[in-house]
Symmetry: C2
Subunit: 144 residues, 2 copies
DNA sequence: TAGTTATGTAACCAACTTTGTTACGATATG
DNA sequence: CATATCGTAACAAAGTTGGTTACATAACTA
């Protein structure tokens, strides 16, 4: 049970917006789909709006909607919008620089983590919201 | 300050063992290099011994040492030894399955996370402890 | 065998993170 | 003006992490 669910929930949220494309969707409605509190959803949507992935409107008849076509949004866009830069534990890692190992290990680890992270992000960039949406649609339309 | 430092510290620990190759090294000595408590080091070493990356001996003249040549150990071996399988937040994510999005999103996310994780691990597998050791050695030997 | 050194691990604590919740102000609609 | 909705602060409960103490176990030395 390590880490947080912000990214997972955010993908769900945007997938829901794509699913309900057109009409504005309230945080309460999305919360019902995710099974959580509307404030949790609004917190994430706040970050997604700042990243220009989503638009939001207050007041009667307000709610949220996609800011662009699903084909133009990747999972990496969502990941970057809601997750801080991972530090892989280097924040709380300050070895003894008087030891040759302690003096050099940080830059070595930074380099390794950067490669690993870059590779992971490239994989997320290969998946678009359209890919996600395509796997949800059939349940509602096809099959009769 | 997200995540933990187990992997980072573990790489430091094994790099230190490689650096001190031959003689057994105590948890207290490693702790001085990492700048933490010996128990923290022994906790990680316990996992590394179980993964057969490291050997340990009790008693006078005891301590830890590498179980194989640095060329035969990759960062992925260390990662798997000390980190649990990441769940990317799916553990605490149980959407409403009555909603078509909630019903399908879990498997979609699982697939995406698996690809991302696999890609990241492949990158860690490309870095051996010998690569790490090579970047530490020069400080102690060369340059005169 | 006694004394010393070192590991193995349990128990506990403080600090931090994460999520859910209440509350309330701001804003848009009609 | 009344209502719906967002935006965000404040707080609590539960879990994670790293540091610390404590002590049992094991191995070496004399």
């Amino acid at each position: 049970m390590t880490g947080n669910s912000r990214f997972a929930v955010s993908v769900h949220v945007i997938a829901y917006l794509a699913y309900k494309a057109g009409a504005p969707v309230t945080s309460a409605e999305i919360a019902a789909s995710v099974d959580t509190n509307p404030v949790v959803i609004r917190r994430l949507l706040s970050a997604l709006v700042k990243a220009r992935l989503v638009t939001g409107h207050k007041g009667v008849g307000g709610g949220f909607g996609m800011a662009s076509a699903p084909a133009n949004i990747t999972l990496l866009d969502i990941y970057r919008a809601v997750e801080p830069q991972p530090d892989h534990g280097l924040e709380r890692f300050s070895p003894n620089h008087k030891c040759p190992v302690g003096a050099r290990i940080e830059i070595i680890l930074r380099t390794a983590f950067f490669k690993a992270q870059t590779s992971m992000e490239a994989e997320l960039a290969r998946i678009s919201l359209e890919d996600v949406h395509r796997q949800i649609k059939p349940v509602c339309t096809g099959k009769r």
